[in-house]
Amino acid sequence: MAGRALGMGGGMEPAVIGARQADGTNGSHEPAFALHVEDLTATYSGDAVLWDVDLNVPPGVLAAIVGPNGAGKSTLLKCVIGAMRPAAGHVYVFGHPYRRQRHRVAYVPQRTSVDWDFPTTALDVVTMGLYGRLGWFRVPRRRETDEALQALALVGMDAYAERQISQLSGGQQQRVFLARALVQDADLYLMDEPFAGVDATTERAIVDLLKDLRARGKTVVAVHHDLQTVATYFDWLALLNVRLIAQGPVTEVYTPEHLRAAYGPRVVLLGVGGHAPQP
């Protein structure tokens, strides 16, 4: 059982979930950016949490959005999915407004943003990922349940399908959330802190999963908080602190100068110089 849970990246067969990729949704007519944010400004009761942010994420990368607390990372994702109306600016997903691209985007909220005592099962939560395809009033049937079970198997959680969700550990809950995103078979995955509060095993499993998504040409944009792992987990980086500090390939952006600009002068990085990792 443990082997099954651990091996969620290794044994994955792209064809199982990737039914839609055969029709060439990632064809040559794709626009230059998977996610393109233009002059985005957002405020909470008058205070700017995002100020004039321009973000360009090319397709096929694992992108991290990194910055200190209150930098507007989650707000940025909320503006993308239309959960928050920006004060100014535009968001484009594969060249079009989000509303026309919903079916190509999967969103993973912060695990702690929902009530895990809700009376439902892991399988049912994963099935929710398919509600968008079903649309209003249509109910999930056998086909949806089968797809959800397959997605649970991909994250090594099929044995827990009928578990009430409060009986899962934090790492298992995060896997259920990821399965819910996988079942959508999207082209762009937006994840809010996918590594927050998970055990080491789950963390490795999520990394494998992300790499597998990239191998299948998908784009991932994840809010991330751990500076130590950014460079190993991701290949594209946007540093944010209300304003956009820098963006680009992680090798170019992950420099002491940029990190100081984002976190303030006191940030010292392991491997970049000295210890005491957090400001």
Binding site: P109, F118, T120, D199, T201
Partner: protein, 312 residues
């Protein structure tokens, strides 16, 4: 047909049926309010619908016009919207906001009754307690049958609520569990929430004559909460909530007859008995939790972390 009419002519039958219908209509919606942690909005709404009823009366001069339903629904939504506005200021928390809005609206309604409608049967005691014992006195003709007016009203409202919960089950579940994903998938959870609360308002008006605000709030909150202590599935929570509501109506009426006490009060108390039972013997009740603490569980696997506390 005469058999059915004879049955309906018994006051007890009408009383139990009205109580059961209010209970089912209220607890179907109440399950979602409880899960959204908005159950006290039902208390606010059940009071502030009065201003909708009073304004509808002042506009039409009648106490039973269809405008009542519209007025009450709008008053309920006004309550919710004003509460939202206060909460969004980020200085007033939601419990305080509810406590600020509905007494204000209720007070204005009472003043309006005092000034413009002194001679009308709209007294505030009836609003709070209702009188289900008199439900059978006011009858209307439906085809060949004479049916109590509140029975007919509650039957329609119950069917509307049932249709709402059945046809929008998936949307309600998603909006309640994860409003952010609902937004991302294009399901307008805000709209679903307002529709839910509009129906709570309409149900409150229907219940208003028959059972009053207090029994209504009891029916909204207690049966779903009792069911939530017993089951881990949303649909079972809805069904069990309805059963508790019906059981409370029947049991409450029997209790009221044998002890010669207020029928509404007895029904509300019976919901409490069911809650107590669920609290003791339910899956998430006291006994179950104590037993789980006694029996050592399986050793923690690598995947299960200690910090979540979610795993019992």
């Amino acid at each position: 047909m005469t058999g059915l009419q004879g049955w309906l002519d018994q006051p007890g039958v009408t009383i139990v049926l009205v109580g059961a219908l209010v209970g089912v209509a209220a607890s179907l919606l109440g399950a979602f309010l409880v899960l959204r942690r908005e159950s006290m909005l039902s208390d606010a709404i059940s009071h502030s619908v009065l201003i909708g009823i009073v304004l509808a009366y002042l506009l039409t001069g009648a106490l039973d016009s269809p405008l009542h339903v519209v007025g009450a629904a709008l008053a309920g939504l006004l309550t919710v919207w004003l509460t939202d506005v206060l909460v969004r200021s980020r200085r007033v928390k939601s419990d305080a906001a509810i406590g600020l809005v509905f007494p204000a609206l209720f007070a204005v309604a009472v003043l309006l009754i005092n000034v413009y409608a002194r001679d009308v049967h709209l007294d505030t005691d009836a609003v709070l307690l209702g009188e289900i014992g008199f439900a059978w006195l006011d009858v209307v003709r439906v085809g060949p049958l004479e049916v109590a007016r509140s029975l007919l009203t509650m039957l329609v409202i119950t069917l509307v609520n049932l249709a709402f919960v059945v046809f929008l089950y998936k949307e309600l579940k998603l909006a309640t569990f994860d409003a952010m994903l609902a937004t991302a998938l294009g399901f307008r959870p805000g709209l679903v929430g307002y529709a839910l609360l509009a129906l709570v308002s309409v149900t409150a008006v229907g219940a208003f004559d028959a059972v009053g605000a207090i029994l209504f709030v009891a029916f909204v909150i207690v049966p779903p909460t009792a069911a939530y202590l017993v089951t881990d599935r949303l649909w079972r929570m809805l069904v069990l909530g309805c059963l508790v509501a019906v059981g409370s109506s029947v049991g409450g009426y029997a209790l009221a007859l044998s002890f010669d006490v207020s029928i509404g009060g007895a029904m509300a108390s019976t919901t409490g008995v069911f809650l107590l039972l669920a609290l003791i013997v339910g899956k998430h009740g006291i006994v179950a939790r104590a037993l789980r603490r006694r029996t050592p569980g399986p050793p923690p696997s690598i995947l299960r972390e200690r910090e979540t506390g979610g795993a019992p």
